[in-house]
Point group: C2
Chain length 219, copies 2
Amino acid sequence: MAETGTRTPRERYRDQVRTEIKDHAREQIATAGASALSLNAIAKRMGMSGPALYRYFASRDDLITELVRDAYRSLADSFRTAAETGTDLPGLAHTLRAWALADPQRYFLVYGTPVPGYHAPDDITGIASEIMTTLLDACAAAGLSDGPATPFETHLGDHRDWAGDHPAPPESLHRALTFWTRLHGVLSLELAGHFTGMGFDPAELFASELAGLVEQRGE
Amino acid sequence: MAETGTRTPRERYRDQVRTEIKDHAREQIATAGASALSLNAIAKRMGMSGPALYRYFASRDDLITELVRDAYRSLADSFRTAAETGTDLPGLAHTLRAWALADPQRYFLVYGTPVPGYHAPDDITGIASEIMTTLLDACAAAGLSDGPATPFETHLGDHRDWAGDHPAPPESLHRALTFWTRLHGVLSLELAGHFTGMGFDPAELFASELAGLVEQRGE
DNA sequence: CGTGTTCGTTATAAGTTCTAACGCACGCTA
DNA sequence: TAGCGTGCGTTAGAACTTATAACGAACACG
């Protein structure tokens, strides 16, 4: 029989406590931001004393890194399941926007202000490239335009390390990048509240940018 | 005689110490991020003991708010002087990019991850609208395209609170917004290091997005 | 039913922000 | 020029934080 699935009671309890800690951490981050995350406060809310949490996470930074990993994992899963159900490029954009609006601070864990010295673990960059691959697949499936190659697309033809052995042509690489940067540009400013009080509907701006992306010609 | 310019020695000394504190704070933020800013560490580097800094800034948050205000002011000034010397839209984009690359953490003080509870003081939002006005002027001076109005532009025609009484037509408002969101999309991801290791040159992607913006049709 | 790993505790160190009280020194004014 | 008041820097201390160390108890496993 497969012994892998059966975990000892200790392991099951440990995982349960770890997820409970992360739940409280997420709630705290959503309320006051990641910089205000306090292990002590989490411990008190869980009814146990401070240092107990160090049995489950080596440090505060370790806990945050775990939350960042979960955030990447969550986005990658959302993208993957969307792609597996035959979602096209606009559908992927809608998936991204829904994922971002569901938990803004989770979005900023992935795409927010970086800490100068910090380098993400290798597995996290692996998840990031997994997200990129899903996006590339969708862009390759969306077809090509009829215009000539732009200067940046010829540049991409010579600098496509990030695409690995993906068969997508430079124009698809270009569209994947603009999909990423343009939608992130709208979403990050919207989530950061830079549009509040301006009157217009951010969803319409997002839709407008998306329309430009699928119509090949940008606008 | 105008007594306004003459300041007492106490005031001059106070301003000098304040700017010295902010210089150390900026250096510290550039090194380890805004969340790692420590008043104690600044005081020790300046050769004085911790609580002395509270004569100059009411709190740590007050110092950070001051740095945010300076960052906004710096960007607004860069935009204004660029506009006064007759800079067109691409020139404004270059000004923005140079300003961002000169000090990435300063960029993130303005456009980075927001703290959930925080609300910027009124004068900062005033500087933000000053930046927007300069951008709107440049977009209005760039002229109009020949195509029909997009759905979002008609939406903007009814929701132009943020433009105040600016005479720019909805298409110019639209271009100002896309100028903002698209260039921010590229810049923020570049400064956050999300392009490192991908092989292509972020400057070329920036130039590509800029080209799409000035050619009316987006791409 | 022992035995050993794991967990949670308290104590402690070193750091942080920030307030309070004290004293000195500087600059303005008489 | 002499004094007085304002402002500055100090130390002391409270209330936090992260993190380590040592201890004891509970639990699962052989």
